[in-house]
């Protein structure tokens, strides 16, 4: 199934895009998505420090994804 990925903060630079359409297996969890992303983008190795939002709500690792979900990858930022 397809999901939409949004990237914020440093992840935009790490991945080179601010959004992309992305294919994941049915019933993937957030945790499975993270593993798949790290495997594809080595630069996202700190993804466990990032917040993941599904359809604008903070999502925990065990949450399952649905077709057309919008998944935001939100790293902490520290500038001021």
């Amino acid at each position: 199934m397809k999901i939409q990925l949004l990237f914020f903060g440093i992840t935009t630079d790490l991945v080179g895009e601010s959004s992309m359409s992305y294919e994941v297996p049915e019933n993937s969890s957030i945790e499975a998505l993270k593993l798949k992303l790290i495997a594809q983008f080595a630069s996202l190795k700190n993804i466990n420090d990032f917040a993941i939002a599904v359809n604008e709500s903070y999502a925990k690792d065990h949450q399952l994804l649905l077709n057309n979900d919008v998944v935001a990858i939100i790293p902490p930022v520290s500038g001021g």
């Binding site: 700190n46 939100i74 902490p76 520290s78 001021g80």
Partner: protein, 358 residues
Amino acid sequence: MNISKSEYFKRQTTLSEIGEEGQQLLQKANILVIGCGGLGSPVAIYLAASGVGNIHLVDFDTISISNLHRQVFYNTATVEKSKAAVLASEIAKKTPFTNVTFSEEAVSKTNILELVSKFDVVVDGTDNLQIKYLINDACVLTKKPLVYGSLYKFDGYVATFNVFESKAYSCNLRDAFPKIATDIPNCGEAGTMNPIVGLIALLQVNEVIKLITKTGKLLTNQLLIYNALENSQFKMKLKKNESIAIEEIFKNSTYGALNCATQKPILLISKGDFKLKLNDTATEIISVINNINTPIPFEVHQKKPFHSFDIENFNPDFTKNYVIVCNKGITSYNITQQLKDKFPALNVLSLAEGIENY
């Protein structure tokens, strides 16, 4: 000139959402602004201009040239001066109805709880991830609302944490990012353009005003992200993570104590500048590395291990320019600061980031 208060705030009190009552609430408010850089400096100025009655500024840092493109309340004449002091005097010049005080002491685990407990609202204008967690945790422990802001390049984050709303306190930074991430650069800033810095600061000002005047909808239980390149706004809804025990965390965390973010630039020498002065006869290099056998990539004139360095009996040569070096630039900074405190006229600098970054 006699400045009439009712004339000054006429455009605010005419709003039914604010009125004289809202203006009074602002006048009585006590706001703490931690960090007087890109975020904190406009926050403090705009809050004072809105009529906030009491503002306390905290920043240990001095103004540097590379701050000026985004810290627009400073100017070339104030470079190397204390940010908190300069900002306080700017506010005093502009706004007759605000009582402004300041401190140049860095916030730390030792002083933070007492500090934040004195105020109605805390604004985070710092640029250091560890300190942001220190402030967050202290606000949770002292039950103070915290208006958070932070930046990376063209993205800015804003939220209002820890507001008492119908029986419980709203979410805080750890509900979005439970642990302090280790790979977020603290000391070297990524670049940014001034509009997003100003935008985030003004969204923080807006939160404080909404909070104090009880107007509008606060950014509680969410994290707002604005991207300046695409003018897109994203709000992530947050939920309280009940597994996080902040009292425990506060007790056990060091919040990266002694890290480089609390070092004053005027006490530092970069490796580039240092290399230029290596062969200068006035340069006197002291290594304070505890292990005197550690190889050092340049010649040092003295080895005085940190654990036995005796400041009291140190006999400085005021014709020399001392450079203190260590592995990471942390203990050398400590010694540099102690020497400078004891001998203000002494030329002494710490090699930034130590020999590991040489």
